[in-house]
């Protein structure tokens, strides 16, 4: 059940291609549930208002309709929305979450129905205690309903792109004099390494002076090992400027438009 917790679901296709989906954590899921809960309560209040009008005619019938409506709202909300919106409820939409099959396939109706019906067990004894504990114990943060239905909740965040111009400034990049070496650098540097360099630049002002020097020295050494630029391009460059040049080379848009 447990083992290493992961924050992404990696799916390998038969074509040997891998793609990753970000898994949602308990907190975002709880927030999404809160939004949904407010909506369900709102709909229940609406139902009460409707029924109270009906009660003028027949209190007996009105109460019967009320029981039916509340039942349909509380049990139907998740099933109907997740089925017609492909794994999203209003709350999940707002927080950028989506229910998915854990193999990356389409959701089937039985999956949607079971994961929502098993909510009863997950909510025991109160406030999703069972579901929360199970979610913390499983690698992919699945509650009982997810485990039974073979589903996961993934995040589809819209992260704002880092503002490169601000990070890099309008400085001259001495690497530009060597386009063939720049091209080779782009080839050799993997996405993770590039990301480390970019994040270091973005956060440089939050670092302590000593730590900043050491960090950029380490990163610059790494990139010097990847590819050696001729001395005229690197002369007089501090480690930080070196990393900035690398990031500029890697991330600078190369195409027009």
């Amino acid at each position: 059940m447990s083992g290493q917790r992961v924050n992404r679901l990696i799916i390998q296709t038969p074509e040997g291609c891998r793609f990753a989906l970000l898994l949602a954590g308990p907190v975002t899921r709880f927030l999404a549930w809160l939004v949904d809960l407010l909506l369900v309560i709102g709909m229940t209040i609406l139902a009460v208002m409707l029924v109270s009008m009906l009660a003028v005619v027949s209190p007996n019938l009105a109460l019967a309709v009320f029981f039916l409506l509340t039942f349909a709202i509380w049990f139907g909300y998740g099933i109907v929305l997740e089925w017609f919106w492909r794994g999203r409820t209003v709350g999940k939409r707002m927080l950028g979450l989506r229910v998915m099959d854990e193999r990356g396939l389409r959701l089937t109706f039985p999956q949607v129905a079971i994961r929502n019906l098993l909510r009863i067990a997950d909510m025991l004894p109160m406030l999703y205690l069972v579901g929360g504990i199970v979610c913390l114990l499983t690698r992919r943060c699945q509650r009982l309903g997810d485990l039974a239905a073979g589903t996961v909740v993934v995040r589809t965040p819209r992260l704002p792109r880092p503002d490169l111009a601000k990070v890099l400034g309008d400085k001259y990049n001495s690497f530009r004099a060597h386009p063939h070496l720049e091209a080779r650098l782009r080839q050799r540097v993997g996405p993770e390494e590039a990301r480390v360099a970019l994040l270091a630049l973005i956060r440089r002002d939050t670092l302590e002076a000593q730590a900043r020097v050491e960090l950029f020295a380490g990163i610059a050494d790494h990139f010097r090992g990847v590819l050696a630029f001729p001395t005229e391009a690197t002369e007089g460059l501090s480690d930080e400027q070196y990393v900035r040049n690398v990031v500029d080379t890697l991330f600078r848009p190369q195409r027009k438009g």
Binding site: N60, G104, I114, G150, Q187
Partner: protein, 338 residues
């Protein structure tokens, strides 16, 4: 290795755009048009091409947008191509489902149903024995104020038409119905406790039933009891048993004794059965609720007991026949088609 990323993207982009266009169309809820062979082949080609492009571009650090876009395209196409569309081929037909799929699913898991019935029966025997040997236990076992009154007094009161809440009959039946459906869902859900919870729930309900029944019989009110319980109980009790059956099926899949398949596969296999059983139970309980509203709550002077008992018995036989026989022809047709 891609030498010139710009040229690569320029060359591949039309294919990606075409793939996106096809996916957009196929993913529309109304757009589940069938592809002809050439279109299907083209879709597969585009998908493989995009996947290959993704595999190559993944090692590149620049252009994260292109990579993300390509990843999402491949993920969507993967889901579309690798999901088996068998169940979606035909439109869902509720009638066919209820008279065909539901009884067939019930029969496929008949052992779980037998066990579910045995547990309820054991509970009933226990409840009856408890009330027989220790009359004080009725206060623990009996619900809804049954314990406060002798059955004969209650019968007299009901026959006089003075029972509680006569004018709110429909509301009361609806509440019972939704409550029964909730209990049924819980019985299935508790299968997640390796079916221990389901068994406890079934035994407890059996104990209540046994205690109430013995109480009435000992007080000489068997006829009233049969007339009161049979019309809706002949549907309601089987419905609870089927919900228990679903819970036991879930528990059995979790335990997986004598099954070499991995847990995930076992769960995936029983998922449609669970949904069919629990929705079937809901349909039965709605019917029981209607009966309860319009028949069970009316007693002797209004509706003769013999009529109610006859109705309930016939209904029980019909229900048994339905579950045992309905949908057999459909199964054979499916076998032939397969």
């Amino acid at each position: 290795m891609i030498i010139d990323l710009d040229r690569f993207i320029e060359r591949e982009r039309p294919m990606w755009d075409e793939l996106e266009y096809v996916l957009d169309r196929l993913e529309l809820p109304s757009g589940r048009k069938r592809l002809d062979l050439a279109q299907a082949k083209r879709l597969h080609y585009l998908y493989e091409r995009a996947a290959a492009g993704l595999a190559r571009i993944q090692t590149f650090s620049s252009d994260p947008e292109v990579r993300e876009h390509l990843e999402s395209l491949v993920a969507r196409a993967y889901a579309l191509i690798h999901s088996t569309g068998r169940e979606r081929k035909r439109r869902f037909n509720p009638f066919e489902w209820f008279v065909g799929t539901f009884p067939r699913t019930f029969r496929r898991h008949w052992r779980a149903f037998a066990l579910s019935s045995a547990i309820l029966a054991a509970g009933a025997v226990f409840g009856a024995a408890a009330v027989w040997f220790d009359p004080d236990s009725r206060h623990v076992l009996m619900p809804w104020g049954h314990a406060d009154m002798r059955p004969s007094e209650r019968v007299a009161q009901e026959e006089a038409g003075a029972g509680a809440g006569k004018e709110m009959k429909t509301a009361f039946s609806t509440m019972l119905m939704t409550n029964n459906i909730k209990v049924s869902i819980l019985a299935m859900t508790l299968g997640a406790t390796w079916a221990v919870g389901t068994m406890v729930l079934l035994f407890h309900n059996g104990a209540i039933l046994g205690a109430v029944m013995l109480d009435y019989i000992r007080d000489g009110q068997s006829e009233f009891l049969a007339a009161w319980l049979l019309p809706h109980g002949s549907v309601e009790i089987p419905a609870i048993l089927i919900a228990g059956q679903a819970g036991l099926v879930l528990g059995a899949a979790l335990i997986g004794r004598g099954d070499r398949k991995p847990l995930k596969v076992r769960l995936r296999e029983i998922l449609p059965s669970l949904v069919t059983l629990i929705f079937g139970v809901a349909v039965l309980l709605v019917w029981a609720g209607i009966l309860e509203a319009f028949l069970s709550q009316y007693h002797a002077p209004v509706v003769p007991y013999s009529l109610k008992i006859a109705f309930g018995s016939v209904q029980l036989v019909l229900l048994a026949a339905f579950l045992a026989l309905s949908g057999r022809r459909g199964a054979r047709r499916k076998e032939l088609a397969a």
